[in-house]
Subunit: 368 residues, 4 copies
Amino acid sequence: MAEIGVGMLGYAFMGKAHSNAFKKIVYMTWPPPLEPRLVGIAGRDEAAVGEAATRYGYEYATSDWRKLVEDDSIGLFDNGGPNSLHAEPTIAAAQAGKHVICEKPLGRDADESYAIWQAVAATGVKHLCAFNYRFVPAIRLAREMIDAGELGEIRHFRGRYLQDWADDPSLDTWRFAPDDAGSGALGDIGTHVIDLARFLNGEIATVSGFAKTFVEGRKVDDAIEAAVEFENGSVGTIEGTRLALGRRNAFQWEINGSKGSLAFDMERLNELQVFRDDGDRARGFKTVLVSETDHPFWEHWWPPGHIIGWGDTFVHELHHMLEAIASDTDIAPYGATFEDGYRAGEVADAIVRSGQTGRRETVSYRSS
Amino acid sequence: MAEIGVGMLGYAFMGKAHSNAFKKIVYMTWPPPLEPRLVGIAGRDEAAVGEAATRYGYEYATSDWRKLVEDDSIGLFDNGGPNSLHAEPTIAAAQAGKHVICEKPLGRDADESYAIWQAVAATGVKHLCAFNYRFVPAIRLAREMIDAGELGEIRHFRGRYLQDWADDPSLDTWRFAPDDAGSGALGDIGTHVIDLARFLNGEIATVSGFAKTFVEGRKVDDAIEAAVEFENGSVGTIEGTRLALGRRNAFQWEINGSKGSLAFDMERLNELQVFRDDGDRARGFKTVLVSETDHPFWEHWWPPGHIIGWGDTFVHELHHMLEAIASDTDIAPYGATFEDGYRAGEVADAIVRSGQTGRRETVSYRSS
Amino acid sequence: MAEIGVGMLGYAFMGKAHSNAFKKIVYMTWPPPLEPRLVGIAGRDEAAVGEAATRYGYEYATSDWRKLVEDDSIGLFDNGGPNSLHAEPTIAAAQAGKHVICEKPLGRDADESYAIWQAVAATGVKHLCAFNYRFVPAIRLAREMIDAGELGEIRHFRGRYLQDWADDPSLDTWRFAPDDAGSGALGDIGTHVIDLARFLNGEIATVSGFAKTFVEGRKVDDAIEAAVEFENGSVGTIEGTRLALGRRNAFQWEINGSKGSLAFDMERLNELQVFRDDGDRARGFKTVLVSETDHPFWEHWWPPGHIIGWGDTFVHELHHMLEAIASDTDIAPYGATFEDGYRAGEVADAIVRSGQTGRRETVSYRSS
Amino acid sequence: MAEIGVGMLGYAFMGKAHSNAFKKIVYMTWPPPLEPRLVGIAGRDEAAVGEAATRYGYEYATSDWRKLVEDDSIGLFDNGGPNSLHAEPTIAAAQAGKHVICEKPLGRDADESYAIWQAVAATGVKHLCAFNYRFVPAIRLAREMIDAGELGEIRHFRGRYLQDWADDPSLDTWRFAPDDAGSGALGDIGTHVIDLARFLNGEIATVSGFAKTFVEGRKVDDAIEAAVEFENGSVGTIEGTRLALGRRNAFQWEINGSKGSLAFDMERLNELQVFRDDGDRARGFKTVLVSETDHPFWEHWWPPGHIIGWGDTFVHELHHMLEAIASDTDIAPYGATFEDGYRAGEVADAIVRSGQTGRRETVSYRSS
């Protein structure tokens, strides 16, 4: 089986999630498109990255990501580092001819995201912005149903990503440092909502909203709120907060169309709520356990009803990337490219701008 | 037992709901504060209003609401007519010394609502704007918990009222006629969201949003979307639509505070979702069946767990009005006064204005 | 409109529920089949029954139920008294030519139930055993779906009625007195499960189970457990307990057939869970809010989605009785006759017997 | 890091589940107690087992399980073969000094299970019967809460395992062959219910029930139903069926105690429903997302709210086995030993016996 050398930047949350996925792809998606060989892993803390290399089976650890870029045995560079480390290493890796994966948000704002996209696109490598929720089976099923016209004309998309871990002024992480993170809830979870809004319902035309900081002394936003209009004429809301007590990872969205509706909650990521206006006297939303043999990604897993976990979404995502590399197929439309990463950044910036100007802001995208 | 004569304007949906409540108050809320005597009912269709009088036991029917206003045996005038019939009859009844109930929205816009409020307040009668959802036990419980500080400092209110009956261009009702209704989803269900937002979380400071019409040829809005800021510093969204397929009467809201959260869905109106940040290892939202002996309004009903219906919220509401009349107590804060009706109108107007100007609109209230 | 005089025995829980229903029938089910005139109400506590007469509008109160039996203006005798007062008054009323309603359980055991049924049937009056849950819209819809073959061949019925109010040794009510009640959870809630099992799935052939008392000193059972076989070949369980902490009125059942399944919980009595094996890729249980214009009983109520309460099931039940009287139609199959009351008693007795003998007991019914 | 050689019997459903777990343990449970080295895998179909070896990374494949038993580099024999292949290979492996894991049911009936247990226990190796649901975080949390007395005295356990895949007479698998499987739903899913009943609530004293076959020509049972009494005085039901349409993997159970209740559904395996009778006015079941840092097994995974999948329960289970081997600690009480496997068999046999004799059957256990 053909293999591809992987260089990983970051060994913490995303490093763990991606490494696990590369290891599972080998045997859960059988046969895998390419066999990932875990070559090198980079991180700032030498002891920690060394332990990570041992743990996940990378051939070496380094505190200098440039070593990965220069390593010819690496064909795929996976950037799971803090947002401030997205641009330079990712661009360098692409320019060294490596295919690249970069965690979201692509850059710390639209400008940086645009620069990354442009620089990487110019190299011709495959690029994937790791909006992993596109690879939740229920969400792919939703996309397929919408594409097939099963919802008719869309009227509403409302999405909110609710977490509650940030309600502590003493918390200290790079996620609260403007230089490292760029923004707070906006970039961290707001961009997930924006990306799925675009994935499921197309481009956002205008936003009317704002970002908000609650915790004293915090330098990034805790929450965003926006009323939005889509290019297809539908309307709705986009929200994100890390201060919704009791909601741990509640990325909830609902879409209403002229023929049906869908609803979803990431805390029950194996389920899709489906309403069809089919004239059945027994009218209501179905709770669909998305785990049937004819459901997306399910050929890799278990008998129906035996649910998968959050970590498994990365298996699907990285499998998609490997398939694209192996067969030279497109990342889009099911995967998010760096252009998608950039576009999410434009919408995010527009929300901030709307908060500052007090105006409804039109989203406009720069061309490639 | 002291009685009070009731004159009812309207015999359809709201006429039925209010008449049923007056009849049940007599024996379900025992002893009732006042015994309502159903004196007269008015409506435009003579045959229909005559049948309604027979059906509900009114002493007479009339096609001229002025007859009710002139009837000295009537001490309480209840206006359940179309929005265009709110102002004149309600003001006339109050000026004739009758206590008045008026369905929401109070007027077709803030100006009309203000005029009604001012004219009626000047008479000194009791006035209640029939935002009946304040009288859902779960919602009163929510209010009591918030008042007691059980949620701490509030960060978010997000409310959406989703229905789906209006997705048919051929539908014809006064609710789609601008002159009769004033607005569409905005006045009909959007004002319910606005009122509960104010009831549970205080005044709204700014709105950024718009109204939207989907159905071709329809002259009123089908949906509203807004991002909002409250005077207490919390933020959130307000939405209303009559085109959310599969949602029949889904008035859903969630409040997040620094100590806990609450969530609700009118399709399960007997339940309140309660999260307390109490350090219990078993952390999560409780599904509280609001039907305990120490829960609001439950002294009138059944053993715990034996749920009540939507229609029963009017029993609580009209009981509150009768109690206020009998004991000369205030409608506020648990009941909505005409001032509340007016204030909901100001917020509604601000959403429309925001849609037109493309600006975040500040809500400002005229004084009494 | 033709009227019928009603005599009520009992003024507490069931007296309130039935009186409320008679009053609402007059205007909620329009036009009513017969107008109930509340003539007399009987109860042991003179002061209490007197107040009940005033409250509900009965023309007189009495502490001697025989007065109701002798009152020629009474055409319908409604027995909501303790179980020990079911037999004699009900039989006497029937023999005096009055139609009779009797609360469940019909008698304190199968023998007594049989005697009541036989004596009353001999008189030719209409008789209804008040298993009100047959008149929950979701349950009637279930029955209609099953009758129409929408579930195919039935394989399973499992029903459990869970309450938690009885977990207090100091509680004192007639429901714990063997002479008054006959049994504990068995007659009180177990018979509801048995009746719906029969209503939805036909006769029970065998039971293997027992009754169980937990609370020290209590003289009636707290719970029943049984594995059952039905005559149609399906199998399942029947359970009832008043010691399931956290369950207030959780009468839950599920039916599985070869074409679909249904599930229900009385704490959400407006909802029916419906699964159809229809080949839809979106496979799952629908949450059907049983409140559509083409749903059972809904012609009496509100627009779709505006739910009804537990108390409203009695409106449907007593309306059914009045309709049967007015039009001389059958109580069966949608209403429970005294024969149904007796048959529930036979199954209940068989569970007790199984507990005593340690054997699977065959249910056999005496003929009429 | 110390390693242990693993020999696997079976390459299909359970072979995949266990192999995946061994591979994930190495890096998800860091540092692992022992590093599993995948030495050999055995199965009847030479081509298939050869591909499985490649896929999962076993050093060799064989169609003769004896080769694994004779391989001195294998220290842990994991039997995921059909039930008829449990006894001989497992005993042989243990007698060769290898620690053993055997899938459930341990044997095809209590006699065979007893023989396996006795033979293996005599060798002194560690033995684990793979009732993996003990290793669901929510179920371990339940056990810990019960052990800590948080539920008080237990009154009820009711468990039912509902699947629907077997409703097709043309299906052909070893699971329908009496010689291969021993029984149908009973051994396959009924024993899971029995094991968790014992795990959470202690020994079962009596069973009153039966097994039932629906599908024509099928030689094993499709369903079991039983009313049960536990040694601690609590009572309840045990059910299992593979014909409950719409239920894919719905292993549901509920426990009611004098201080609280718990409820669970395997289709939402990350959630535990918790009721505490703590006097809070907001009374109800909590939906606990069992994914907090202080929840069982969660040290291995993700931030709170990022749920795990069914397959991950095996990671916990096999980690427990490796820990027991590495530290010479007991499999019990959190893991199921072969004695637990045997005891589940006794209860299962008693249900069959009860069906045959028509009597309540006492469960009695043979001593070790």
